[in-house]
């Protein structure tokens, strides 16, 4: 109890400094949580597009980005005939721009594709998709920002397309995208193949055998299960690394704030530390007071930051323009890592101050009264 009071006493003694320190940690944690969650959410959404009703992805080996992958249509046709395969859907990804909208994602898909099948059709009829090369189906968000409805003609890239449907999906990227028949997309993007083939197997336990067969028959292609793809795809890894790096920098700044506070704390209580030493406090006990103070600042800051971060995510989710793009659900692992990092940063910030406190010589601190 007295130990705790020694910790709290100093925080209370310098309230403004303590609050600033806590705020520093809180903002750092909130920034880290927000950045990491948004980017993880984006990665999750993008991988969700790929794994829609499929277990394995086939694409060109060693491409840095799926947009550059080109899988021959013959491969899709052949793979679809393998007995273990339930269906094999080629998908072509492309990015175009239109007036006021620099980036619109286009999905070139076959009419049987799960994205078309599973979407909620707000306008139009699914049976019409793929009948004419100039027909497109818009995601509801894309229809909104393009100001288009069923029957309109919309300029997309260098072409004009006839809107035959508007669909809603759970995925922000899909909702903000344009679905074209695969052959029309190939023509539009000057590609003869597709970016990927999404594979659904009769039995998901056949995934290893399927991958082995792809490796043998098509050495220039690679087949990855969805989870494997999420972990290994270089773009996702770059995004995740960037998120953690940006968040880490924020946390480092928070940690420096804690270190500064703790150094000031030790400097202003040297006499008190000397008194503790004269009364038999060991180095470990004195360091415990310093680390305790720092850990308390970090813990309060971390929890305040979590609340702030979650609040910010929900606020972002409520912005209409971002609806569907921001996943506000914080993964428990991220939560744990952010909390742990915040506490570690707080403790690291107290290392030098604690070391300094342990070296305070009572006789010098008390000599001049």
């Amino acid at each position: 109890m007295i130990f705790l009071k020694l910790i709290l006493t100093n925080l209370r003694r310098h309230r403004i400094r303590s609050l600033l320190s806590i705020a520093g940690v809180a903002f750092s944690v909130a920034a880290m949580l927000t950045v990491v969650t948004i980017l993880q959410g984006a990665v999750h959404m993008f991988s969700g597009i790929l794994s829609n009703d499929s277990q394995v992805l086939v694409f060109e080996r060693n491409v840095s980005d799926l947009f550059f992958s080109n899988v021959s249509p013959d491969v899709a046709a052949e793979v679809a005939r393998w007995p273990m395969v339930e269906h094999a859907d080629p998908v072509l990804f492309g990015v175009v721009s239109s007036a006021d909208h620099p980036i619109i994602t286009c999905f070139g898909v076959v009419p049987e594709d799960a994205r078309i099948r599973k979407a909620t059709w707000l306008e139009g009829n699914r049976a019409d998709f793929g009948k004419h090369p100039n027909d497109v189906v818009l995601g509801s968000r894309a229809a909104e920002f393009l100001g288009a409805k069923l029957g309109d003609t919309v300029p997309i890239g260098h072409g004009s397309f006839h809107v035959i449907g508007v669909v809603r999906t759970a995925n922000g990227f899909e909702d903000g995208g344009v679905f074209m028949p695969l052959d029309a997309a190939q023509l539009f993007f000057h590609k003869d193949g597709s970016s990927v083939i999404t594979i659904k197997l009769h039995n998901k336990d056949d995934a290893a055998a399927f991958k082995q067969r792809v490796r043998q028959q098509f050495p220039n292609l690679i087949a990855l299960e969805d989870a494997e793809f999420s972990h290994t795809y270089s773009q996702f890894r770059i995004l995740k690394a960037t998120a953690w790096a940006v968040g880490g920098c924020g946390l480092l700044l928070g940690g420096l704030g804690v270190a500064n506070t703790m150094i000031m704390s030790v400097f202003t209580r040297i006499r008190e530390i000397a008194i503790l030493r004269v009364n038999g406090f060991s180095n470990v006990q004195i360091a415990g007071v310093i680390f305790g103070e720092s850990a308390l600042v970090a813990a309060v800051g971390a929890f305040a930051g979590l609340a702030l971060g979650v609040g910010a995510l929900f606020a972002l989710k409520r912005i209409p323009a971002l609806d569907g793009y921001v996943d506000a659900s914080v993964h428990p692992a991220i939560l744990g890592i952010v909390l742990l990092l915040a506490l570690l940063t707080g403790v690291a910030g107290a290392l030098y101050p604690a070391f300094y406190a342990m070296r305070v010589r009572a006789v010098e601190a008390l000599r001049f009264e």
Binding site: L276, V278, G280, F281, R361, V363, L366
Partner: protein
């Protein structure tokens, strides 16, 4: 019990020599006053016995064990010696009770045992009604009595008092000193006290006169 043998101590890389070959011995339960002008080395000698500093030369021992800053220092501070300073050196944000319990917390004394000891000491020093008060609310005399309680908390065998009445008025000073002698006698501790007050010093069993880093002829009394 307490022994100093040819102890030398200097500061500022030898520019100021505070102790110049001090030697003396004290027996268990004795009360000893160290008298002398400011800067003659009284406080330094107390610090050496308490393990807060180390001599440049010579030996300082407590209970036949040489005081060494790196060996058994914690045990010395927790169980062998108690300090009372001129300025009470209490932590202002803690209550009287919490200040007194600090040595018990450091030593890991069981709570009920520490509290029992505190009640006993508070009773004897007349501080019982003030236990929950913060230090700022206490008078100078009460603060010094609190410091005395704290120093005796872990039942030390030696009490080192550095001008314990130096910041008090004459009447309070006499009261605190009486209490110091009484508690020391009751607890059976050896008291080594630095003081300027000759009249108080003369009430101790021994008076050691210090001058320029040396003890003048010991055994005046």
């Amino acid at each position: 019990m307490l022994r100093a043998e040819d102890v030398w101590k200097s500061y500022d890389d030898g520019a100021i020599t505070v102790l110049k070959g001090v030697s003396f011995e004290a027996c268990e339960g004795q009360t000893i006053a160290l008298c002398g002008p400011s800067g003659c080395g009284k406080s330094t000698l107390l610090h050496l016995f308490g393990g807060l500093d180390e001599p440049d030369r010579g030996r300082v021992s407590v209970n036949s064990i040489e005081v060494n800053r790196h060996r058994d220092l914690l045990r010395l501070l927790r169980h062998e010696v108690g300090f009372v300073f001129q300025l009470h050196n209490l932590i202002p944000d803690l209550t009287l009770e919490e200040n007194c319990l600090l040595p018990a917390v450091a030593a890991g004394t069981p709570k009920h045992e520490a509290r029992q000891r505190l009640m006993d000491l508070a009773e004897r020093t007349g501080l019982s009604p003030r236990l929950g008060h913060r230090i700022q609310k206490l008078s100078g005399g009460e603060r010094q009595r609190t410091a005395l309680c704290r120093a005796l908390m872990n039942r030390p065998k030696i009490l080192l008092a550095d001008e314990p009445t130096g910041s008090l008025d004459e009447r309070t000073s006499a009261t605190v000193f009486d209490l110091l002698l009484e508690v020391a006698a009751n607890e059976g501790v050896t008291l080594l006290m630095a003081t300027h007050d000759r009249s108080l010093a003369e009430r101790c069993d021994r008076l050691l006169q210090m001058h320029d880093g040396r003890i003048d002829e010991p055994g005046l009394r």
